[in-house]
């Protein structure tokens, strides 16, 4: 909740990721200057940073290794965007660098800003006038919603299943501990401290494993999923090759050559994309082919964008419609291939899609497609910013959960009083709740009543 933590120092990228060569990481709050003193070194030693002056130097990680060559500035309260002490670090614009600087500050105790939080603070501190405040409201809403949707989409199934199961294990333990507190008169044996400690350790190391995986997170390691979908022989593999600029996938005129999915990486406007070529969708009795079609359908579910390919020189057929069914509810661009031949007029339902005519064979129209993709993802920078940030948010939530579990382990060596152990378990659950949704006291009570026969 935003106003909940207004005395905390917050951090977030202030520029859209993937646009331009310079990225800005903005920090606002009382610890802003301390961050600069801790992680920034200028060639000429600086005793005291002057407000509103740009300094040249490097950002170093805690081990003393340089992360990036940057310009940094402090704007002391109240003469700053938010009206609080603000530090801005101008670094190279690549997403990896911005991410490392963000992580550095988060691990040093800063909190990732909520969508629109800098603007909100600016307003609350009287730095914005009424008319601009109206605009703030809409920004907060649209950004939160975009971030929320993305967070869900980005969390791939396997990861979210692990987080949910960790949550369930903690709920189970908290229920044991709480039952022991609230029902001393019942015939319930107290939780075995050794077992509790052991399993909490196990949960904690699972989280460690997840965190390690995050440092090479899906979006930045593998890019946004862009799926190439269509019936056989419309030129999907040719499109892939054309985008990559060389021949990777097998291209023949025999339908069904691409029997499994083929993946390639490509960068557009600084953000990596993962291009996925799929087997042509068609009604088939061949088991191997059918499997390929099934996998294409599965891939469609997690795609960030579908490039739906049709052969512009052929009339629409049943397999086209079958394929379109798989792309239902997805963000979709219609690639009308084979523009080097005579093309037919589009017919519904394809007239509803945004169409890009091109020829994968000659390469004409390819630039138009790249431009469309880049506008789709990066217009206004909002999506790409929230992409980066929502991923960081998951990581931050896991970090906080593990901090609480570490406290739990410390507490358990000093006291076995259940109410203190419950406090740490609750905080860990609260942190995981940012991913899985809140665990309410009633959820815990529910677990207690379903597990123990309670009632006098």
């Amino acid at each position: 909740m935003i106003s909940d933590n207004s005395e905390q120092t917050i951090v977030a990228p202030a520029t859209a990721v993937g646009e331009g060569g310079i990225g800005i990481v903005r920090v606002s709050g009382t610890s802003a200057e301390a961050m600069l003193q801790r992680f920034f070194r200028s060639p000429g030693a600086v005793d005291q940073f002057e407000s509103h002056r740009l300094y040249y130097g490097h950002i170093f990680d805690p081990d003393g290794a340089p992360i990036d060559e940057v310009m940094a500035v402090i704007m002391r309260a109240p003469r700053s965007y938010t009206g609080e002490d603000v530090v801005e670090v101008h670094c190279h614009g690549g997403p990896l660098i911005i991410r490392r600087i963000l992580d550095l500050f988060i691990e040093a105790g800063l909190r990732l800003a909520h969508p629109g939080e800098f603007t909100l603070r600016a307003f609350l501190n009287g730095r914005l006038d009424l008319t601009r405040a109206e605009a703030v409201i809409d920004v907060i809403r649209s950004r939160s919603e975009a971030a929320g949707q993305l967070a869900l989409r980005q969390m791939d199934g396997a990861l979210s299943r692990v987080v949910y199961s960790l949550r369930d294990r903690l709920v189970e333990h908290l229920a044991l501990v709480e039952a022991h507190i609230d029902f001393p008169e019942e015939d319930i044996s107290p939780p075995t401290i050794a077992r509790l400690a052991e399993d909490v350790d196990a949960v904690s190391s699972e989280i460690d494993r997840l965190l390690a995986g995050f440092d090479s997170c899906r979006v930045l390691r593998e890019g946004l999923n862009v799926l190439i979908l269509g019936r056989p022989n419309v030129g999907k593999s040719s499109l892939l090759n054309a985008l990559l600029g060389e021949s990777r996938a097998i291209v023949t005129d025999i339908p069904g050559t691409t029997r499994d999915t083929v993946e390639e990486s490509l960068e557009i406007a600084g953000i990596p994309l993962r291009l996925i070529d799929t087997a042509g969708v068609h009604d088939t009795s061949d088991l191997v082919e059918a499997e390929g079609v099934r996998r294409a359908g599965l891939r469609a579910e997690t795609a960030d964008l579908v490039l739906f390919v049709i052969d512009g020189s052929q009339p629409v057929c049943d397999d086209d419609l079958l394929a379109l069914e798989m792309a239902k509810d997805k963000r979709c661009l219609l690639v009308v291939n084979k523009s080097d031949r005579e093309t037919l007029e589009l017919t519904p339902p394809f007239t509803d899609l945004e169409a890009v005519p091109l020829s994968a064979k000659t390469g004409s129209g390819l630039d138009g497609l790249k431009e469309k993709i880049s506008t789709l993802f990066f217009s206004g920078g909002e999506i790409s910013e929230s992409t980066l940030v929502s991923d960081r948010r998951h990581r931050e939530a896991l970090l906080r959960a593990n901090e609480a579990l570490t406290r739990f382990r410390e507490a358990i060596s000093a006291t076995h009083d259940p109410e203190f152990l419950a406090l740490d378990l609750k905080e860990a659950l609260q942190a995981l709740g940012e991913i899985t949704g809140e665990t309410t006291p009633d959820d815990i009570l529910d677990k207690i009543f379903s597990r123990f026969c309670i009632g006098k």
């Binding site: 203190f420 026969c453 009632g455």
Partner: protein, 619 residues
């Protein structure tokens, strides 16, 4: 129709645990108060188990006491077994519990009410409210009398359309042997309030003379009973033990054999029962792997032969009740004096209330107790006290008492009810309190006496004693910090069992060591030693748990920030385009009083709270 002629400031309907506290609180603030009950012989009845307190409930009683309520003094005067639960755990989750002499408890409360200035106790069955321009102006009884009042507190318990089930037989009743209140809940529904149905149950009462206690484990009370109320110096009434026995496979077989005649399992009962208080048939069905269930045999009073078997509430037919009871050790020849039963009753969805317990739609009408969907005497009494005090404060033109979630279980209780509503009988548990480590029985007075004093509920004597205690705590804290023992003070060091003390230490530093208690330190300072035991306890807790207390205080600090941002009455959510229509609907329905309350409404997103906070600052 006869107009009674006198206009009261506060009319309280129902003289159970909520109604009694409501009437006393209103009268004690100086308001002329009327307490109406269906039966003058049934004031402050314990319809279920004859006990007060327990985890979270004991906390509530201490809070009621800190706010000047009667429940603590009443159980101190009539309790026949006192125990502190969880003594091996930390101070926040220790709780007091007492068995009551049910008849003495009721009789004493009735006397207190009869002796209270400004308070009239009368018999009458209220069937309608008098309403003028969405404000309540009095009540009408079935006997045809109009009582005019500036405010009304409804505490109807299980009486509204009460329906008692024993086996497949059922009949209207508010409690065994007493008629229900018909018509009032229909009237409330006509006034636009949402009325629901809940269920609860109670076991048979057994004849002490038919039980063989010789084979059973006795459970005595604490050697030195500790009273609930700060006004009570010592428990003087005779103390008696409870006994423990267990069900067995044979018991469970008999119960399973009778399920076809259970109103629960044959679908006759439509109301929702509490998860935490299942009937014995429910336990046997839901936990088939358990081969025995514990039963506490609790005396209902020193002069009564009735025994309350805690753990076997049931609505099975009387013949099955008798048959299964007689399979239990000690109860082989037991005689039932009253059969167990289930009761269904109407309640009014508490999300229609403001945090003051006033209804949102009818001004000056307050609800407290089971009508709000709660269960338990303590939960009822806590709400009654707040509703009665707030009705009185309204007539005096003063601000209502709203206890925060960080200030008391009373705050957690009322905030949960009015913000989330409830669909099963709501009982308090310590796990519902996010600031549990701060909401202890031992500091209830420090959390709430000031609030009670401001509302006119605390008399001068209590206030002076309380102020003196605060001064002693301050003085004691000062001594702990100032008095030091030096490295050369060998006698003291060895008496404390310490190896050496290189740089010396203050008493506070010594007290932080797990192995040292405040009692160990008293010989080092006469001034500290001269303070009362209650003050020593506060000093010790403050030092020993300082880290945890600090952590919770920080959480409270964050919580308070949104809690202090008020949302003006009648705030127009429909005009806020930036809120999704779903969130808007929820806010319109809930009409939260503060930004904090809004944030606890299920489905209201953090983004919506951010938007609201901008709008609220702008106004």
């Amino acid at each position: 129709m006869v107009d009674y002629g006198k206009e009261y400031d506060v009319i309280v309907v129902g003289a159970g645990h909520a109604g009694c506290e409501a009437a006393l609180a209103a009268a004690r603030t100086g308001c002329s108060t009327l307490l109406l009950t269906l039966g003058l012989d049934a004031v402050a009845q314990m319809s279920c188990n004859p006990a007060i307190g327990g985890l979270a409930k004991g906390h509530l009683v201490k809070e009621i006491d800190a706010l000047g309520g009667e429940m603590g003094r009443n159980i101190d005067a009539t309790g026949i077994q006192f125990r502190i639960l969880n003594t091996k755990k930390g101070p926040a989750v220790r709780a007091s519990r007492a068995q009551a002499d049910r008849m003495r408890y009721a009789a004493r409360m009735k006397t207190v009410i009869e002796d209270q200035q400004n308070l009239d106790l009368k018999q009458g069955a209220v069937c309608r409210l008098l309403i003028d321009r969405e404000t309540v102006t009095g009540v009408e009884t079935r006997e045809g009398i109009l009582y005019r009042g500036k405010s009304v507190v409804l505490t109807t318990g299980t009486f509204m359309r009460g329906l008692i089930h024993v086996g497949l037989n059922n009949y209207p009743g508010g409690r065994a042997g007493e008629p229900p209140s018909e018509g009032l809940s229909d009237h409330l529904r006509d006034l636009g309030l949402k009325v629901g149905r809940l269920k609860t149950g109670t076991p048979a009462r057994l004849d002490r003379n038919s039980i063989d206690f010789s084979a059973l484990e006795a459970q005595p009370g604490d050697a030195t009973p500790r009273p609930f109320s700060v006004d009570t110096n010592a428990i003087t009434i005779e103390q008696v033990p409870c006994y423990i026995t267990w069900t067995n496979q044979q018991t469970h077989d008999v119960i399973r054999g009778g399920l076809d005649r259970s109103p629960l399992y044959s679908g006759v009962i439509e109301g929702v029962g509490p998860r935490y208080c299942p009937s014995i048939e429910d336990k046997v069905v839901r936990f088939p792997e358990k081969d025995k269930h514990q039963i506490f045999l609790e005396p209902e009073g020193l002069d009564s032969a009735e025994i309350y078997p805690n753990g076997v509430s049931t609505s099975l037919p009387p013949d099955v009740q008798l048959a299964f009871l007689r399979t239990i050790p000690g109860l082989e020849k037991v005689e039932i004096m009253r059969p167990g039963y289930a009761i269904e009753y109407d309640y009014v969805d508490p999300s229609q209330l403001l945090p003051s317990l006033e209804t949102k739609t009818i001004r000056n009408l307050y609800h407290a107790g089971q009508i709000n969907g709660t269960s338990g005497y303590e939960e009822a009494a806590a709400q009654g006290l707040i509703a009665g005090a707030n009705a009185a404060l309204r007539t005096q033109g003063k601000e209502p008492i709203v206890v925060g979630r960080d200030q008391g279980y009373i705050g957690v209780l009322i905030d949960d009810l009015v913000t989330l509503g409830t669909t099963e009988p709501y009982r308090m548990f310590t796990s519902r309190a996010e600031y549990r480590l701060l909401l202890r029985e031992d500091n209830a007075d420090q959390r709430l006496t000031g609030i009670g004093r401001a509302a006119g509920l605390i008399d001068d004597k209590r206030w002076d004693e309380y102020s003196a205690k605060l001064e002693q705590i301050d003085a004691g804290g000062e001594r702990l910090r100032q008095v030091r023992i030096g490295p050369s003070d060998r006698t003291a060091i060895s008496r404390l069992g310490l190896p050496e003390l290189k740089n010396g230490a203050s008493l506070e530093e010594l007290l932080r060591r797990p192995e040292i208690t405040i009692a160990d330190l008293l010989f080092l300072d006469d001034e500290l030693a001269s303070l009362p035991a209650g003050v020593h306890e506060q000093l010790e807790i403050a030092v020993k748990y300082a880290g945890y207390i600090e952590r919770q205080k920080e959480q409270v600090g964050r919580f308070r920030k949104t809690e202090q941002i008020k949302i003006p009455d009648g705030f127009d959510y429909t005009g806020v385009a930036s809120l999704s229509s779903e969130v808007r609907e929820k806010l319109v329905a809930a009409q939260p009083q503060t930004l904090g309350q809004a944030s606890r409404i299920p489905g209201v997103t953090p983004a919506a709270i951010a938007v609201l906070s901008v709008l609220l600052r702008r106004q």
